[in-house]
């Protein structure tokens, strides 16, 4: 598999007018989604999936739409961080630390330009990494049989609990609940309806789009009701840049933070938020000689932005090559691809190379579009932030209803979505993370299929799951993660007990 001719074919797909248009719209919408606090990338992408279906986009165009929204939201998240000191989404939290002080010093336009340029650098670096790494990993993945895949799916569910912050028991239970929700519907192998309560609407299973929109968008609204701030938020004016764009480029910072972000993104379970924190920490260690980080150091703006954009690109690697998503956003993309009858994984690279390479090429294009959109037009996005949220949030609710309604045009799905919204709100209050739930729903079916295929091949012998060295290796990693999670949990308990005693 030669990379350069494949990529050339990809560019031929990416520059088709419909794909360019879709990439442009995706970048624009993504920047808006990222900029507005309260609508994160997972949320925005979940809402947009039904639209991609109802517009009858081809799989490659739909994927380009969603990934450019994803990249765009990584670009947009920084705008609110810098101008309002409120992160547009969770991966832009760190950008506040130096971005807002810069804006306060009258260098808001500089900070926005720095972050746009380093976002571009991080995104492009990650796309380059994806181009080089994905085909290699896909070739290795050909050696995966059903038992290896089963092991990989277990690992994907567990790893999110092992690495993420918070109570690992709750993260794990969230993933398992997702798997349980995924079993609703007619069992494809035997035709037995499972957990349907006789409701024929449930025979085809619960569409992950309904769950995702309910869990994220509707619960967000319920959270907003109790967290809303009274009074208008003060926005720092954008103003003019004080120096040339060339002097606002920090190549060394972008390279360091981008590489780190890409590696973190490739690892399942970590994602863009962790990457932005690590990118900032690394840059602070390397470049903070006069301890000006936190007081408006431009490098403190460049580093997290390069890292989180690179992580977004990196997280596409396991999704495309193995069909195992490592983050909520890529999990939802995977769900969409499966609905469109495209199964990501090693065979995708052989059978439908135009999808993979078209996407990769489109990512290069999207990055350029985003840079062009974000440098001169940043004022427009900043204006959007002045729209009071009490007009905006109900609009998001309506779009959520429209999205779910367009799937099957029935009231049952809408009620189900509201139900999952209330459920998601309760989970959030109890600090049970929502991403593993969606991950579980999407991975449940392929996980069960690979398990049953492995069992069918071995005639029901359970030990067959542990016979290949590759599967054993994956199970060993899973075991290590569980041990780490248990250790982390006991340490967390001890710390809590210590603070309780000293208080």
């Amino acid at each position: 598999m030669d990379i350069i001719p494949s990529l050339a074919h990809g560019f031929a797909v990416a520059v088709q007018p419909v794909n360019l248009l879709v990439a442009f719209i995706g970048c624009f919408v993504g920047t808006v989604i990222g900029a507005l606090p309260g609508i994160g990338p997972v949320n925005g992408i979940a809402i947009l999936i039904p639209l991609a279906f109802s517009l009858d986009l081809s799989p490659v165009s739909a994927l380009i739409l969603l990934t450019s929204v994803y990249y765009g939201s990584m670009f947009g998240g920084r705008i609110a961080s810098i101008l309002l000191n409120i992160p547009g989404d969770s991966s832009a939290v760190v950008t506040c630390i130096d971005g807002y002080p810069m804006a306060k010093q009258g260098r808001a336009a500089d900070a926005l330009a720095i972050s746009a340029i380093s976002s571009f650098a991080g995104g492009t670096l990650a796309t380059l990494g994806l181009t080089l790494l994905a085909p290699t990993l896909a070739m290795a993945a050909i050696y995966f049989g059903p038992q290896e895949y089963f092991a990989l799916y277990i690992m994907a569910i567990v790893i999110v609990g092992g690495i993420a912050t918070g109570n690992p028991a709750k993260t794990l239970v969230a993933g398992l609940l997702g798997l349980a929700i995924g079993t609703v519907g007619i069992d494809s192998a035997t035709g037995v309806p499972r957990f349907t309560f006789g409701a024929y609407e449930l025979y085809e299973g619960i569409d992950f789009v309904i769950v995702a929109i309910g869990l994220f968008a509707i619960s967000e609204f319920l959270v907003y009701i109790e967290q809303r701030q009274t009074g208008p938020v003060e926005q720092v004016p954008v103003g003019r840049r004080t120096t040339t764009l060339r002097r606002l480029t920090y190549p060394a910072t972008s390279l360091r933070a981008g590489l780190l972000g890409f590696v973190i993104g490739v690892l399942p379970g970590a994602g863009a938020t962790l990457a932005s924190f690590m990118g900032y920490a690394l840059e602070k260690r390397v470049a903070d000689k006069d301890s000006s980080f936190g007081k408006g150091n431009p490098r403190g703006v460049a580093a997290p932005e390069a890292a989180d954009n690179a992580a977004a690109g990196g997280s596409l690697v396991p999704m495309l090559t193995l069909g195992v998503p490592g983050s909520g956003t890529t999990a939802i993309m995977l769900g969409m691809l499966v609905t469109l009858n495209v199964q990501p994984g090693p065979l995708l690279f052989q059978q439908q190379p135009e999808i993979v390479w078209g996407l990769v090429a489109a990512l290069y294009v999207s990055n350029v579009i985003l840079l062009v959109l974000n440098i001169p037009l940043v004022g427009i996005f900043a204006k959007l932030l002045t729209v009071p949220p009490h007009f905006l949030m109900p609009g998001v609710v309506v779009v959520s209803f429209l999205g779910v309604y367009s799937v099957n045009q029935n009231a049952f799905d809408l009620l189900l979505m509201v139900g999952f919204g209330a459920f998601g709100y309760l989970l959030r209050k109890l600090s049970v993370p929502l991403v593993p739930v969606v991950l579980g729903i999407i991975l449940g079916t392929p996980m069960e299929q690979s398990l049953r295929r492995a069992m069918a091949a071995s005639g029901g012998d359970f030990s067959a799951l542990f016979q290949s060295p590759l599967a054993l290796g994956l199970h060993a990693i899973t075991a290590c993660i569980i041990i780490v999670a248990i250790l982390r949990e006991s340490r967390r308990r001890m710390d809590e007990a210590a603070t309780a005693r000293s208080a």
Partner: protein, 143 residues
């Protein structure tokens, strides 16, 4: 306390889930059958639930008073909206829903009505006319 309740509910759910799965026994077909995977998923849910009963996290601050009331009213409004969307139609039901939600979030009534009108007409134009995704017209516009 909240975590203990969550844990009990999870354990009960796991018990019901495995009991329900047991009824899906099929003698033909593949060697493991439709009950096998649920039987694997349920025990860890139950065990983790019991763990939360024994070692709960500190309670979150639950919303109270008018915030709780507003949240319950929102869920009720969304349920009603889901039920009336098809018979009443998109434009009218969305206008009312958005106006109610906006007013609840603190806008004045004229502002809220204007917001509702703009949102419903704007989305109808965008989805139905521009993108060609049919929305329920309902009796108001069913001509």
């Amino acid at each position: 306390m909240s975590d203990r309740i969550l844990g009990i509910l999870l354990a009960l759910f796991a018990g019901w889930y495995i009991w329900e799965a047991r009824s899906y026994a099929v003698e033909f077909g593949d060697p493991v059958g439709p009950a096998f995977f649920p039987e694997l998923v349920a025990p860890p849910i139950g065990l983790l639930g019991l763990y939360l009963v024994l070692r709960p996290d500190p309670d979150p601050t639950w919303s109270r008073g008018r915030y709780l009331l507003a949240q319950m009213a929102t869920v009720a409004a969304l349920v009603i909206y889901a039920l009336v969307l098809q018979p009443v139609g998109f434009i009218l039901s969305t206008l009312v829903l958005v106006a109610c939600l906006t007013a609840m979030l603190g806008a004045r009534l004229p502002q809220a009505l204007a917001g509702g009108l703009a949102t419903s007409l704007g989305f109808f134009a965008l989805f139905d006319w521009l993108l060609g995704i049919p929305l329920p017209p309902g009796f108001v516009f069913a001509g």
